[in-house]
């Protein structure tokens, strides 16, 4: 547990799910929170901000107790010095863009003139000078999201809570914002919690990830570890991997849901095997060659992941393959189509379950 930064153990109800999370984020550290839709990410953020009450647990920033159900301590959101970017931006519709950004500093005692000067500078630096005087209600979706981020950053918070800060941005704005966040977070002594659906955004911005599943922590750790060795199908999918459970007999793994894979590393007993779609090839006809694993599959979905196209398929086992656009065009891949999949034994990672 970090002695500085955020330490929290949060239990709270959100609709039908119970959020029950223990976490810590060191100062200067960025923790990415990942999870399926409805897994309770927004609920967790709200609890950390002090905007929903805890059922039990404790939230501390450094040595300062922000919430402690046992002793009845509850510090109001206003007194926590957080910077919160809500998922739905929630700009103040009656204020101009400038006033939105200046709101936090004003509330924390900065003079109006100073707050407006600072906000103007921030907006200019973000290339949003033309929006300064605009009523917030007239912004486009992406513009609103950028302004909401600046608003959260403007009051130099201890704890930055970002709920999907780039979902509505175009590629260049996204790059700009990420670069901006990287440089700011680099010099930022506070703790940051970043909710995102983009595993790679987590990869570039965060050092650790926490994966939520139905309100509980499904996995937590360094980004690289979690990505390489996912513990749940969701994390695997997020990382672009398929993870399969089975029983190893040296180089052969009998999969629980049917099928057998030959793996490079020898193992014994219960294992997880992760299959990277980048290692999987698809073929119209049964391929001859060095690949040790070849099986027949049916395409279930075709989806874009970054620059490549991921073809998910069912078979024994079900997995996915990453192809280039031209390969897709050549194979004329369509959902429902039957193909052959192959993967080299060395491409499979095996680790204890």
């Amino acid at each position: 547990m970090a002695t500085s930064g955020l330490t929290a153990s949060v239990r709270t109800k959100r609709g039908d799910i119970d959020i029950d999370v223990s976490m810590s984020v060191g100062s200067g550290e960025v923790l990415a929170v990942l999870g399926t839709n409805g897994s309770g990410k927004t609920g967790l953020i709200l609890a950390l901000a002090g905007l929903v009450p805890l059922d039990s647990g404790q939230v501390k920033y450094g040595d300062r107790v922000l919430d402690d159900v046992a002793t009845g301590i509850h510090v109001d959101a206003a007194d926590r010095n957080v910077g919160y970017l809500p998922q739905h931006t929630m700009l103040f519709p009656h204020l101009s863009v400038l006033e939105n950004v200046a709101f936090g500093p004003r509330a924390r005692g900065v003079s109006t003139a100073q707050a407006r000067r600072d906000a103007t500078d921030m907006l200019s630096a973000a290339g949003l000078t033309t929006l300064i005087k605009r009523p917030a209600a007239t912004l486009s979706g992406g513009e609103a999201q950028r302004v909401a981020l600046l608003r959260a950053l403007a009051s130099t918070p201890d704890l930055l809570l970002l709920d999907e800060p780039t979902s509505a941005l175009d590629v260049s704005a996204r790059a700009f914002v990420r670069a901006e966040l990287v440089s700011r977070l680099g010099s930022f002594a506070g703790a940051t919690v970043l909710v995102t659906h983009d595993a790679i955004e987590a990869l570039t911005l965060a050092s650790r990830v926490l994966v939520l599943d139905a309100g509980k922590v499904a996995q937590e750790g360094l980004v690289g570890d979690v990505v390489r060795r996912p513990r749940t199908p969701f994390v695997a999918r997020l990382a672009g991997l398929t993870v399969l459970s089975g029983t190893a007999h040296e180089h052969r793994v009998d999969l629980d849901r049917g099928g057998t894979l030959i793996v490079g590393d020898s193992a014994q007993g219960r294992v997880l095997v992760s299959v990277s779609p980048r290692g999987v090839s698809l073929h119209r006809d049964r391929p001859e060659g060095s690949a040790r694993n070849v099986w027949c599959v049916r395409v279930t979905s075709i989806e874009a992941v970054g620059d490549v196209i991921r073809v998910s398929f069912e078979g024994q086992p079900s997995a996915a393959a990453d192809l280039t656009a031209s390969a897709i065009a050549e194979l004329e891949v369509r959902p429902g189509m039957e193909l052959w999949a192959s993967i080299k034994a060395a491409e499979l990672e095996v680790y204890p379950a």
Binding site: G50, L51, Y84, F103, A107
Partner: protein
């Protein structure tokens, strides 16, 4: 703009006609050119002055007292909200005359609180202050209910963000909740002001009718009715003219808001 469906246009036109035709009809009875001379009649002038002063003060009182109450009600749990709302509605359904009586019972010379006030030399009934109290009592529920409705419509997530940005509850209230709810509050203020300006029953019961002190325009109008309808209509038109002037004046400022 899409065309308005007939099923809505017809009742809307009927409603508008029903509201405006009687007012227009008033003008057929009295020559508008006579109004300035009416205004110069001291009694009418006194009553107009008194109405302006008292209705303004009671509207301000309603805002100062009612907006916070509306907010408190809007932000309570369901149970408490229902109870508070019923408490606010009760004075509303009480006919104004009964409201005047209840004020007398409480604040009159022998009233529960009035006795205490009298012992420190303050007497409300039959004074201008009493007129203001009566108007405020009658108008306040209108403001509270309208403002409460407006507050309930403010997305609480806006208030949450404001709080997360360090704004105290009071600051959130002043800088976010009230401005966002402004259209509804303004409507409530107009309702309360109109109610205070037209107040009759509670005023005459609690404050009596003394020209220059408690005889507001509606009271003067009721009395004028005994002498001549035309006189009463003239008083009414004076009030209308005053209201139109106020509305046009306000239009530029916050009326456009809503």
């Amino acid at each position: 703009m899409r065309r308005i469906p007939v099923a809505l246009l017809v009742p809307a036109v009927v409603a508008l006609a029903f509201l405006t035709l009687p007012v227009v009809a008033l003008f057929t009875r009295v020559a508008v050119v006579d109004l300035p001379s009416r205004l110069r009649e001291p009694l009418v002038l006194d009553a107009l002055r008194l109405s302006v002063v008292t209705s303004t003060i009671s509207t301000l009182l309603c805002v100062v007292l009612g907006v916070p109450l509306a907010w408190v009600i809007a932000r309570r749990g369901l149970r408490l909200r229902q109870l508070l709302r019923i408490l606010v509605v009760l004075p509303l359904v009480l006919p104004p005359v009964a409201g005047g009586i209840s004020l007398l019972v409480l604040l009159g010379r022998n009233g529960l609180v009035g006795r205490m006030l009298a012992s420190v030399g303050v007497s409300l009934p039959f004074t201008t202050a009493g007129t203001i109290v009566a108007q405020t009592f009658v108008a306040l529920p209108f403001l509270v209910l309208a403002a409460e409705g407006a507050f309930r419509n403010v997305d609480q997530r806006l208030e949450d963000v404001a709080a997360s940005l360090g704004a105290s509850q009071l600051r959130v209230f002043r800088r976010v909740t009230v401005p966002v709810a402004a259209p509804g509050i303004v409507a409530g203020v107009v309702l309360a002001w109109a109610r205070a300006l037209g107040e009759f029953g509670a005023t005459i019961t609690f404050a009596g009718s003394l020209p220059g002190r408690t005889e507001t325009l509606p009271l003067a109008l009721y009395r004028a009715l005994e002498q001549s309808t035309e006189a009463a209509i003239s008083v009414g038109l004076v009030l209308l003219a005053f209201s139109i002037a106020v509305l046009l004046l306000l239009r530029e400022r916050w009326w456009t808001l809503s």
